[in-house]
Amino acid sequence: MSPHVGARITRNEDPALLRGRGLFVDDVRLPGMVCAAVLRSPHAHARINRIDARRALAVPGVLAVFTHADLGELGGPLPKLIPHPALTYHKTQEPLASTVARFVGEPVAFVVAEDRYLAEDALDLIAVDYTPLPVVESLQEAAVPGAPLVHADMPNNVCAHYTQRVGDVERSFARAAHRFRERLVIDRGTSSPLETRGVVASWQPQTRQLDIWDSTQAPIPIRNGLAAMFHLPQAGVRVVAPDVGGGFGCKVMMFYPEEILVPMAALRLARPVKWIEDRREHFVATNQEREQIHEAEIAVDDDGLILGVRTTFLYDAGAYCPYGIIVPIVAGTTLPGPYRIAHYHCEFRAIFTNKTPVSPYRGAGRPHGVFVMERLLDRAAGELGLDRAEIRRRNLIQPNEFPYDVGVIYQDNAPLQYDSGDYPRCLSRAADMIDYARWGARQQANRAAGRYLGLGIACYVEGTGIGPYEGSRVNVEPSGKVFVATGVGTQGQGHMTVFAQIVADVLGVDPRDVSVRTGDTTAFGWGTGTFASRAGVVAGTAVSLAAEAVREKTRLVAASLLEARPDEIELEHGRAFVRGAPARSLLLGEVAAASNPLRFTMPRDWEGPGLEATRYFAPPRGTFSNGVHACIVEVDPETGMLRVRRYVVVHDCGRVLNPLILDGQIHGGVAQGLGGAVWEKLVYDAQGQPLATTFMDYLLPTSEEVPPLEVGHEETPTPLNPLGVKGAGEAGVIPVAAAVAQAVEDALQPFGVHITEMPLSPNRVRQLVAEARRSL
């Protein structure tokens, strides 16, 4: 039987999804269900003097209006996730603001009514008396002493100040032949999942059971938190993340206010309550990302070898920092990338502003780190007259240098150590695929024809597959079908297929006979969530270990039925048979039935009934994927319009589980990366009012803008897990901004345009050309 792992097979989950038979939170309709709507602050910073909900409550069909005063012990600040010694002010918001609202969109009141129309109309009838307070919108200005304070009990807006150092940076810079400094700005974006957030809660007083459907990436931590808050046993709370239409990080936040308010309302009203976020709410109420300002410097010798790198950067946390400082830590630790950097100084200050809070969005700081590093290398190459690919090649870590210690502490609190890879091979393959050697001539020919084309090539390393752990239970039913459960939910990544492939190979069955259940706390109650490109690595390995245990149990049971030794039993095509005597065989389902006897005795070495096992995997540290993106863009200097002509991705995420699904991950990632590099920008005015709150103003790339992608997979297995797999979820997005910046700069080289910011909207490109022309 040819192995299923590594095969390009279509997805088990797609037949239902493509026929509209999925179950998303909004599809949950329960008898007696009522709807909620949230009143949000229209001010970026304001004192709440008084809330008068009498007119709203007088409307027939309005069941309740909750304000902070009604929350009781639930009114305190939301849980503080992922503390860090450097995080001195770990501020989280209240589910409903009590005295001060700190960003446009912060919940102020929560209405429950018979239907959504009534609930939304009731919002208009709630009178809130606000006193506007001074607003600080700009990251740069918020960091200046004397800036308006987002939190009045702090001396300034700095919630964390953290420095990591490797080697002796001052000395390396002092001795360097060349030093180049850049100020690099990355602006704010949002991940825009197709499905916005949503929560349904139902409370059964008779059984004291609280059921929640939540479009979340972390159902188990949500269950554990809700159980604690509502003083219920964990077993009395079921959280289901059913089909989830994309998460990209914004749904790994726990808790959003609505995740507490909806269950609270269901408990108090004893009616099922539904809240579905609308798109405009999503633009203010769901966490955002990306805003950073780096002052970065690189020291190189005459040959372009890196002697040292330093960056001091500001990170915009928004108004609260529930998720701690994971994003800036990932940015700072991703920055060194695939290069040998003996001396590195990374220092950041995380700053509060009166904007929507920030938590990881696909890439989670990695695109920033890569943007900074690659821009520094481009600058050094330009100044030294070196070829761009060549300066990268000279500085790459070599295949014989693994494991390679970067010298910093990664987001999982473990030393950052690259496990395996072949960085030079990825670079040369990407260069070949984009025909780098003949680029100069092509570019000249195009310029002669009045067309401005540019090439960009950028390298990255992606930290993936971090702990702490995930688990899985695998069991074979008497039907012969295999059931897999794991706590790691799916938001479209293909878990139902990839985990089935892993199990199919171990148990010798067809992947279509393996049914995978994720994201339901009653199906599997241990786990942390889907983030950091870790499901395939951590849960995948747990699935594999559990399947192997089931295989051993199957051998044991089959051996006693077939009168053979367990090590003589083979599993293939859904059967267990004696090696060399395939006629002596049983269906897997028959073994399963026999493993659960109704009477008589059960052999002691079975250790229990059933073909079932649960296993956990706790990786010692993350495993590191890597890759190179290369692209060709055409820029119209008159309009600033940009077209991506070609886009090449060479990517190494260890052993590939399913190339089709991997391609999908890469394609989606590159599309999101291009969005962030060119079109997507959350514009705020100086008063903290968000100005891009519709897809008319916030421009997502469409199939018009995203070119066909050319993807090459390299496979360098990791020694850190038995499958040899590394994560791939964020790879597509990480180096896009860096590659596009370089390509645009290359295209506009005749004008001397220097790119130091992202995104590059047509408007901005036009301005840059105009500025460059003036200074020519």
Partner: protein
């Protein structure tokens, strides 16, 4: 958002001054004004109904006239809030004799927030100018009719 402009009115400064302090003139000429109730000297409770882009909203708030230096200068402040968000504006008005008539100079700053800001901010400049234009056109007719 800062806006400014000048208008010529066909009446002497004193007449214009009286008009721009006359609740009836304000009531008639402020675009979208549904209600204006005097609650104190130069302070009014106002209800405005204004559409910005696709967002039509009713805003309840106050209108106040301060810094008065008759017959040449005052400051007018307006703030209101409603389901579609809030608006807040401040304008300085200066009057100067200009031939037989009056030159009225104004400079204002409008801030909006909430739904109207997210959806309508880009239209606000144009809409603001249009509304202020309507206001002065009406005033012009008002003083013209009065002389």
């Amino acid at each position: 958002m800062k806006l400014e402009g000048t208008n010529s009115l066909p009446a002497p400064v004193e007449t214009v001054w009286k008009t721009i302090n006359d609740p009836e003139a304000l009531r008639r000429c402020t675009p979208g004004l549904k209600e204006l109730k005097e609650v104190g000297p130069d302070t009014y409770q106002a209800t405005l109904q204004i559409g910005v882009a696709a967002v039509k909203g009713t805003y309840a708030g106050t209108l106040a006239i301060t810094d008065k230096r008759a017959p040449a200068h005052y400051k007018i402040s307006l703030d209101g809030s409603g389901g579609a968000g809030f608006m807040k504006g401040e304008g300085i008005v200066d009057l100067e004799p200009h031939g037989d008539g009056t030159l009225l100079k104004w400079a204002g700053d409008i801030q909006i927030g909430g739904l109207i800001a997210g959806v309508g901010q880009r239209m606000l400049g144009g809409i603001g100018k249009m509304l202020i234009g309507q206001f002065f056109k009406c005033l012009e007719d008002y003083v013209g009719g009065g002389t």
